[in-house]
Structure formats: C-alpha cells, structure tokens
C-alpha cells in the first residue's frame, strides 16, 4: 500500500506544473529588462543638439558638481507626455535634467516641448539609439541618476508617476 502511493507522484508533479503554467497565463506579462550598468561609469558619448533651442549632450556634461538625471525620451512616445509634469516638478526642486531624444526629428522635439513644457538643460539627439544601447536602456521613457563622478547610480524604467518623484529625489540625494 505504501508503495502504491508513490505511483501518484508523477501525476501530482504533472498537475503542479500544469497548474503553474495555467496560473502564469493569467498573470500580466511585464518583463522589464533592467540595465546591468548600475554602478558603472557612464560611457563616453557626444550627441548633437536635438533641436535648435538647447545644446546637445555629452558625457562631460554629467561630470562635476552634483548628481543629475539622464532622461531617455522621444517626442513620439506617449508615456513621455504622461511624465512631463513630473519632470517639471523635479526641475522646480532644482534637479538638472539632461535629455536624450531617441530617433527624433528637431521639429518634433520643438513641438513636444512647446506643448508639454521643457524641463531640460540640454538634449542630445540619439538617432540610432547608440547611447541608449550603451547604457543598457531598453525603452522610452527611462530615467537614470548619474552622480557627479559620472557613474550611473539608479535606473527608473517607464514614465515617472507622482509617487516616483520622492524616490528619484532620494536617489539623487543618495548619489551626492
């Protein structure tokens, strides 16, 4: 009798895996690919201005003084509109935000900023996502905290919601 019970083990295992697969199918799939560059120095780059109104962005612009935010965004990206007010709040708190516009056109960048506000001090134009790939970012928008030594300290994936603002301020403080 004792032995017979063992016969059920494979079926129980099968039921467990079938159940697990069924459960996972009901779960929303949001797999973010996190950058593994946290703690690494920002790679060397120098990008042309994304439009006529602001200078471009280079690694050197992140070095010295205080921690800054590097905001990966694009005028064609809808969540970037949603995070615009939060970037404005961060700017009002005295945070310097340097933008990198992915695959964008100068006229579109200018239109976006005219409509949704301009929280940036500089915006570099990354037409082939090369800086985005170099820092391990896999989408727009994403926001990185860069310390005064030019080291990547924190990554925020997706648009910045209201409750993300204090988190980013704390990370900026931590990076001092």
């Amino acid at each position: 009798m004792q032995n017979r019970l063992w016969l059920w083990v494979p079926l129980a295992l099968f039921a467990f895996f079938a159940g697990l697969a069924g459960y996972m199918l009901t779960q929303p799939k949001d797999q973010f690919v996190e950058s593994t560059m946290i703690g690494e120095p920002l790679p060397e780059f120098a990008l042309d201005p994304a439009f006529g109104g602001l200078p471009g962005a280079a690694r050197a612009d992140f070095v010295g003084g205080k921690p800054r935010l590097l905001n990966i965004w694009a005028s064609w990206c809808l969540p970037c509109i949603a995070e615009a007010p939060q970037l404005e709040t961060l700017k009002e708190q005295g945070v310097e935000i340097i933008g990198i516009a992915i695959r964008d056109r100068p006229e579109d960048v200018a239109n976006f900023l005219a409509r949704y506000g301009n929280p940036y001090t500089r915006i570099g134009s990354d037409r082939i996502s090369e800086v985005q790939l170099a820092i391990g970012s896999s989408g727009v928008p994403e926001t990185f905290v860069i310390d005064a030594g030019g080291v990547i300290r924190y990554q925020h994936i997706g648009d910045i919601r209201e409750d993300d603002v204090p988190v980013l301020l704390a990370e900026l403080e931590k990076a001092k």
């Binding site: 797999q31 690919v33 996190e34 950058s35 593994t36 560059m37 690494e40 694009a74 064609w76 990206c77 809808l78 992915i102 695959r103 964008d104 056109r105 037409r127 082939i128 996502s129 090369e130 985005q132 790939l133 170099a134 820092i135 391990g136 896999s138 989408g139």
Partner: protein, 146 residues
C-alpha cells in the same frame, strides 16, 4: 453572407498588425539596420550573431527576426562593430555587460545557470546506476535459476 463573414475574419486577422504602429517613430532606419555588409564573410558572422541576440522590445524574437526600430538599431551596432573588427564574442559580451545574460540566446554557464547543465548529467548518471544495478541483479538471478 459568405463575403461578410470572410471580411470579418480578415479584419480580425489583420487587427493585431495595427497595434504596434502606435507610438513609433517615423525616422529612417540606421544605415546597417536593413543593409547587409559588403563582405559576405563578415555579413555571415554578423548574421549568425544577430540570430542569437534577443530583441528587447519583442522578447521572444531575435534581433534578426524583428522589425522593431530598436532591433534595427541593435543590428546596426552588430554590423558596424563587426566591420570595425570586433569579434562576435566581444559584441555579445558588450551587450551582456549592459542587459545581462537575458539579451543572449546562447546558453552561458554562470553562477545562476550551472544547475541547468549539471542536473541533467546527474539524472542520467542516477538512471544509469539504477539500470545497471537492476540489470546486474536480474542477470545474477537468472544465473542462480539456471
């Protein structure tokens, strides 16, 4: 009647294609996103590598299979780096340093993945051991019977 049904089925089939167009840029692709390298040898190297790198926006496709703009930009990186003389292994390592093992479809033995390689070997050894003992036993049993 049949036509209406056909149209509806077609509409349902085509609908998913309409989704991804939302929220994408209208920029021309990077130079090497859709253009092969001139040297067939180098292009073969690049192509083999691109088939084993994961598209980050469309995670069950390789960058060679995907039409996502970001996959195009990754293909541009691969081809221009191959052209600049980097080896496929160097390029793979460059991407893994940025996105983790996840970006590579080529299995790597690392601190987290070694059980995947060790467990099958252990299972085979255990099964072989059990089989040998059983078969060996049967043989001696038969020997005693005869």
């Amino acid at each position: 009647m049949n036509r209406a049904v056909f149209a509806m089925v077609m509409a349902l089939l085509v609908m998913p294609l309409a989704g991804p167009a939302l929220g994408q840029d209208s920029m021309p692709p990077a130079p090497y996103a859709y253009n092969q390298l001139e040297d067939p040898q180098l292009e073969a190297e690049a192509s083999a590598l691109m088939h084993t790198l994961r598209c980050l926006k469309c995670q069950s496709q390789s960058i060679a299979d995907s039409d996502a703009p970001m996959a195009g930009d990754m293909r541009h990186q691969v081809r221009s780096r191959i052209l600049a003389g980097e080896s496929p292994d160097q390029i793979r390592a460059w991407l893994i340093a940025r996105y983790g093992d996840y970006v590579s479809y080529e299995p790597e033995i690392s601190a987290t993945t070694w059980p995947l390689f060790v467990i099958p070997v252990l299972v085979i050894l255990i099964v072989a051991g059990v089989l040998l003992r059983r078969l060996g036993k049967r043989r001696t049993d038969e020997g005693e019977g005869a």
